[in-house]
């Protein structure tokens, strides 16, 4: 990163070199140095502080029709990020503004302002704006309330529970008066979940999830919020309650598979339990983000929601390895890549 305060100067950025088959590796990415021009009319230039690592990124690398177009070969890798405006010819943004947006894996980004929002660092530090107050938090909130139609007293089970979305799902459900069970990998994650208020946590690496769910949710599951897919989704389907809502948020277990994974073998449970399985994409709720931010910020302020991030340093060069870590489950809470040495706005993971 250069020391220049205003452009033109250079930025390093990570581009998609070739589409991965299975897990991304070094051949997937190339890091290039580009010139950052002075902003044109209606543009702003952002110095990126933190980059969001999301499971959905893996899907964006595949050349298939989906809810967003794939990242093109040679394009800067798409990523949510936070940063500071360092130059602006945009009427809504001034130098020094703290902002978030889809800036990509880059040190500096030029933007026309679309999809850019200001963030209040007095409410929370930048990594939290990528986590509980960012896309994962929005995903948790709308997935639970709008898609899952959660009600006080419901039994809510969430997979990937120690992740960015799952940890907020569980805490929001608790704040709404539900009984909450989290499924996560390893004793540390499970201990953390119960420490932040989950009624029970199941370690899928050590326990039989199907049997344990029967024990900890004896009345059955009202809302199963799935981030994982595979056998864990099946274990949930086997333990539904009549009228249950299964929320399909993601399937991290299969994102790096080279063929279509097995589907949920127990999907006929939907019939037995008169249940619904619904998929959603958080971007559809963009108009309502302020509602969710206000709610979650309130729960963070009163201690109902603990926002946790795992912050990795190393700059854009560390992007590829950090993304792999996401699929290995190295993170607890939101996984964030910090670009700035001073760690400004960084909450220790």
């Amino acid at each position: 990163m250069t020391d220049a305060a205003t452009p033109p100067f250079t930025t390093r950025q990570v581009r998609l070199r070739e589409r991965p088959v299975g897990y991304p590796d070094d051949s997937t990415w190339e890091t290039v140095t580009e010139q950052v021009p002075a902003p044109g009319p209606g543009e702003l230039v952002v110095r990126v502080s933190h980059i969001s690592l999301d499971p959905a990124m893996r899907g964006w690398l595949n050349d298939v029709r989906s809810y967003l177009p794939p990242v093109g070969i040679g394009e800067v890798m798409r990523a949510g990020a936070t940063g500071t405006v360092v130059a602006s010819e945009h009427p809504a943004y001034a130098v020094g503004d703290a902002v978030m947006g889809s800036f990509g894996v880059t040190e500096y980004a030029v933007s026309d302002g679309s999809g850019v929002t200001k963030m209040d660092l007095d409410v929370a530090a930048a990594p939290t704006w990528l986590g509980a107050l960012g896309m994962p938090g929005m995903t948790a909130y709308f997935g639970l309330t709008d898609v899952g139609r959660v009600q006080p007293g419901d039994t809510v089970v969430v997979s990937g529970a120690a992740g960015a979305v799952g940890s907020v799902v569980g805490q929001v459900a608790k704040a709404m008066g539900c009984t909450v069970v989290g499924i996560a990998g390893g004793p540390e994650k499970c201990a953390w979940l119960t420490s932040i208020g989950f009624d029970a946590a199941i370690d899928y690496k050590a326990e039989n999830v199907l049997k344990r769910l029967r024990e900890v949710a004896p009345k059955g599951i009202d809302v199963f919020f799935d981030n994982v897919g595979g056998d864990i989704l099946d274990a949930g389907l086997a333990n539904l309650r009549r009228g249950a809502r299964v929320v399909i948020c993601g399937a991290i277990a299969s994102y790096n598979e080279t063929s279509l994974p097995d589907g949920p073998r127990r999907y006929m449970s939907l019939l037995v339990f008169r249940a619904t399985m619904t998929g959603f994409v958080v971007f559809d709720y963009e108009d309502r983000y302020p509602e969710a931010v206000e709610k979650i910020a309130g729960w963070i302020a009163d201690g109902s929601v603990v926002a946790r991030e795992t912050v990795v340093t190393g700059g854009v060069d560390a992007f590829g390895s950090t993304l792999l870590g996401l699929f290995e489950g190295t993170n607890t809470g939101k996984l964030v890549l910090a670009l700035e040495e001073d760690g400004r706005g960084v909450t220790a993971g």
Copy 2:
């Protein structure tokens, strides 16, 4: 069957001898002769004319928790049926009344009247009361309207389209102003579907369903009504339209499998298309059957719905082989076993 007009006399009936593994066979059933007593207070005796053959019967033979308890070893096989009251000590039923109910695979049944309804043979013959005006018709109507939330102009695709439920689904959807595509096995069934008004029919035995759906439903599927499961469900999932409703009615392709079948590998399409997959059981709509009967009877009267049955003769002894035929797809429309030589109320298949 005896010629006696009033009990006591004997009845032959089919009982569950042992639970089948895979397809039922001769060892599954035993035919026994029982004494039919004179009715006690509040009871009626029905001479059964027609027995309904339903894919769901296979599930009732498994010793697993489901929407109905399994048929017990030694119990008369559960079956919907039509017949005539031949003796009655029940205030609501008189000798000669035409009735339908869950009488089982038996020549005569003693009933306390629960679940028994009268049928009007002027509206339709008895086999139709087991088909378009019976459980399959109710399943089609409520699955489409209540679960599938069908709207005029929707593209509706139904699998098992030439079956008892599927053929009514397609015709009701047409009557409601939808574009309708049926998936069925073989050219005869497909030709029949287009002859009764389906906009297109796909022969899954000869065609690539996934590709053909893309051709005949280029805007995508709004309602996919699934009776089959397996690859056909996946082909539907790959061709949804945004906001689609997938109605899980059955999975005949897997009912005789000895292990859990593969699930829908493309279930993540639910996320891409913001779609919902919902299971249901028709018995939940029992209170609203009269609404559906009135609607469907109206459509039969005005020619919008053609009620078709495949009627097999041979008495209760033919039950086992007739049930196997259901899973081999021998029937077009509703499969019914006739017990009476005179064929009273029988519509030729």
